[in-house]
Amino acid sequence: MTKPIIEKLNSNRLFFDGAVGTILQKNGLQTGEQPELWNLTQPQFIRDIHEQYLDAGCNILKTNTFGANAIKLKGTSYSVSQVVSQAVRIAKTAIEASKKEAYIALDIGPSGKLLQPFGDLPFDDAYNLFAEVVEVGKEAGADLILLETFIDTYELKAAILAAKEHSDLPIFVTMTFDEKGRLLTGGSIASAYALAEGLGVNAFGFNCGLGPIQMEQILPELLAISSLPIILNPNAGLPQMLNGEMSFDITPAQFAASMRRMADDGALILGGCCGTDPSYLSAMIESCKEVLLPPIRHKNISFVSSASKAIILGESPLIIGERINPTGKPRLKQALREEDMDFILQEGFSQQENGAHILDVNVGLPDIDEARIMAKVIKDIQSVIDLPLQIDTSNLGAMEKALRVYNGKPLLNSVNGKKESMEAVFPLAKHYGAVIVALTLDESGIPETAEGRLDIARKILNTAATYGIDRKDIIVDPLTLTISTGQDAAQVTLQSLALIKKELLVNTVLGVSNVSFGLPQREKINHTFLTMALQQGLDAAIINPNSAVMTASFDSYLVLAGLDPQCAHYIEKHGQSEDSSGINLNPSNGELDLFEAIIKGMKERAHEETELLLGKNLEPLEIINQKLIPALDWVGKGFESGKLFLPQLLMSAEAAKSSFEAIKSYMSKKGMVQTKRDKIILATVKGDIHDIGKNIVKVLLENYGYDVIDLGKDVAIQKVVDAAKSHQVKLVGLSALMTTTVVNMAKTIQQLRIDVPECSIMVGGAVLTQSYADQIGADYYAKDAMAAVHYAKKIFQ
């Protein structure tokens, strides 16, 4: 009986086989023909290839199923089940016939489509696609699952979840990087590794794209961080054209020599990809089989990651931006209720610009569907901001949803020492691979002593270990209590922090701002407390990065603690600004008023001028009618007469938007009721992923006071219809870029006519013309964004 592969790996080097596709091409496979179909049409041929690799000494066979998924097999006369089960059967037969000990890897390649939001394949569809393959492969008797040639971490996450939720088989992952160690989708070795390790894969490495020589260049980066066995399945060098035929540029001997060097360096599982054949593999196995097994050291690195960035906790202190949390923020509460994603994203952008390393995301309001909003906010933020996120919720449904849709290894806030909390949170954190914030409180409350908090931290770590969660994936929060409730509150926190770090060798985090609750001029206390906590070894501070005082303290600490080489970061950030701790009370120099700021497209100035006017007790409506609208009209006319161009129109629109934002924020603060605005739905139609045009129209319509319900791009017909019905809108704007999607525009219009006949429809987009618009039954063809504004005015007159 063959040992399970994971056990075998403890004391043996394993060898994957090489290419199958390359051999098939040499034997008559046409470009565009599906190699997987040969499992059914030429099973003996596939079996022969397997046997040749077994003879060469390989002991893991990749089934011939790389593209055997429902998307790629569509249009053939075979099902996934037929192709995959047959492929596993062939591998099994080959192994049995050879009487050798070898494993069958169910080979799964990417879907062939790009996932949303950049492509059109939904995450759940990708998951289902992979799950189908896993189910069949498992039933047929595969020993492990190999996810190979992935270039997108999000798609990889869908595949890993499908593999682990539909089987108990070991999961091996290899991704394709370029010579600089980047994924084609923009991720790094560290960001991809962090995600895969977090999700619990059993081995990780590289395949395809590069030859072994190039992999030698990027292997050190993986060796430095990997606590998992490393797999290398390179091509037979780089591709080259020889007499019009594609071939690869290195010989079996060169291949073997390079693989040997990497085996010496510590790669454990070796094999080949495109261009390799049994001769490459047998040369490699010959030269590597005697190399001693590398000890796989636990690297104890606390990663958090986004799709493209990995950050290590515990190296240098980090800022977790706290602004996306509605507590005490009326404007954010309003935005969350209205699902005003733009406002929420602006909070993310500004924190990133001001130096946040991680963004906290908390959307908890009593009257919203937290799970749905949380998922929506996470998806939106991660599509435009490359910082890792901290999922911050006590709602378990929202927590799981967020963990699932997140593209990376997140921070999770939080677990505490209560049995109930640990039982609920640890399984989720383990399943999705999060780093968990552990609050030092339990059933008996928050201990008043450092020792008490240490005990709880220890209890949490020990319990986490029983779930298989390592201490590197726990970050302890010794809890900041309000100083006004007890004069030694801050001292106990700081002592706890130091003690926990010393005793448990674990990373720490604090929500800093809480310390000053109830006191005047809170920032003064906060920034001093921040410095004190950093001095005690705080690893991550949850603060407001938009506060110049707080980030100045943080940056200064890095300099003084010797953590900012050549003070480079400090100089870059503070070299040019004036004394940032002072508050500029008079932003206006009197030369530019709001009207001018808008027509000149000056965003910050428009915001400042608006605040100034509000400070002078001007009514919001006066500002809008006397300054904003006239400025917008002036710019709009200039654009229409050809004197101003699109960038200027939009710069002014952005300036007006920031002025409106100042007004909204003022009204939220004052608790003023905002007048109900006319609603317009905008959508880029089904199948269309280009939304620049729609977004331009949106900005201008909002400027003119309309409440734009932006359904996004690639919007299903029914979704437009449902939104039009539920919001009872009078006007829908549809955008399409290409001839292939105007068809869906026509269908959307037809359905709207049936279900919401009272609604007017305007259309626009690159391929549209007046006659096209007439043909598909639209009410209005908006040739540009201003035309859309005029039509809206007419409809809502």
Partner: protein
């Protein structure tokens, strides 16, 4: 893409400026967009494959045995015995930047959109120049690239072109259900090879039927 200049005049043309001079703040914004792109480390990729041009009984060119049913393409390739298939992309980082800016600042987004259009076009030009070098010893010259969407050459053939080049696996270029390329800043094309240098290699956009297009060079 550090090693070649972005033609700013082209950027303004895409933005609809024609001969008009941009104002100071637009010039400033264009410059800051260009700086942003420099820092973003966009690495374009391409694949080019030469193939003998076989035709079906109706005269339609065949790729991997599948006829590309387009009369305008067939006419374009009338003189050609061989051709290149080309696929090029700025990659997902360009889409990420665009997505980000269109949520952050639409004026920057439209400028970046224009800059990326210029970048992918000039990248294709550069690739073509290299291919032209390769073909010259054989006495062959390149026709202007002809992309799905031109004339009556349907977008649906993205599937055949990308499939033949194995572009999804090799450079991460795929297409949506409606045959839009993703990443979006990408080009696919058929480039015919002729024995005689065509006297008039008119800029590719002049062969398009859309005479009202603002981007048309006149």
């Amino acid at each position: 893409m550090n090693d070649f200049q972005i033609d700013q005049k082209e950027v303004y043309r895409y933005l609809g400026y024609g001969q008009a001079q941009a104002d100071e703040s637009t010039i400033g914004l264009v410059q800051s967009c260009l700086d942003q792109i420099q820092d973003a480390g966009i690495i374009p990729h391409h694949l080019a494959k030469r193939f003998d041009l076989q035709k079906d009984p109706y005269g339609y060119p065949l790729i991997e045995g599948i006829p590309l049913k387009s009369d305008t393409l067939a006419k374009h390739l009338l003189q050609c015995e061989s051709a290149y298939l080309l696929a090029a992309t700025l990659g997902l980082s360009a889409d990420r930047i665009l997505q980000r800016e269109s949520r952050k600042d639409m004026s920057a987004a439209v400028i970046l959109q224009a800059v990326f259009a210029v970048m992918i076009e000039s990248y294709c030009d550069r690739v073509e120049a290299d291919l032209a070098q390769l073909c010259r010893p054989e006495g062959l010259f390149l026709l202007p690239r002809y992309s799905p969407g031109y004339g009556d050459f349907p977008l649906t053939y993205q599937k055949e072109i990308l499939g033949s080049l194995n572009a999804t696996k090799k450079i991460g270029l795929s297409y949506t259900d409606s045959y839009m390329l993703v990443p979006t800043k990408s080009v696919t094309a058929v480039i015919g090879l002729t024995k005689e240098e065509q006297g008039c290699h008119i800029e590719k956009c002049m062969v398009c039927d859309d005479t009202n297009c603002t981007f048309r060079k006149i």
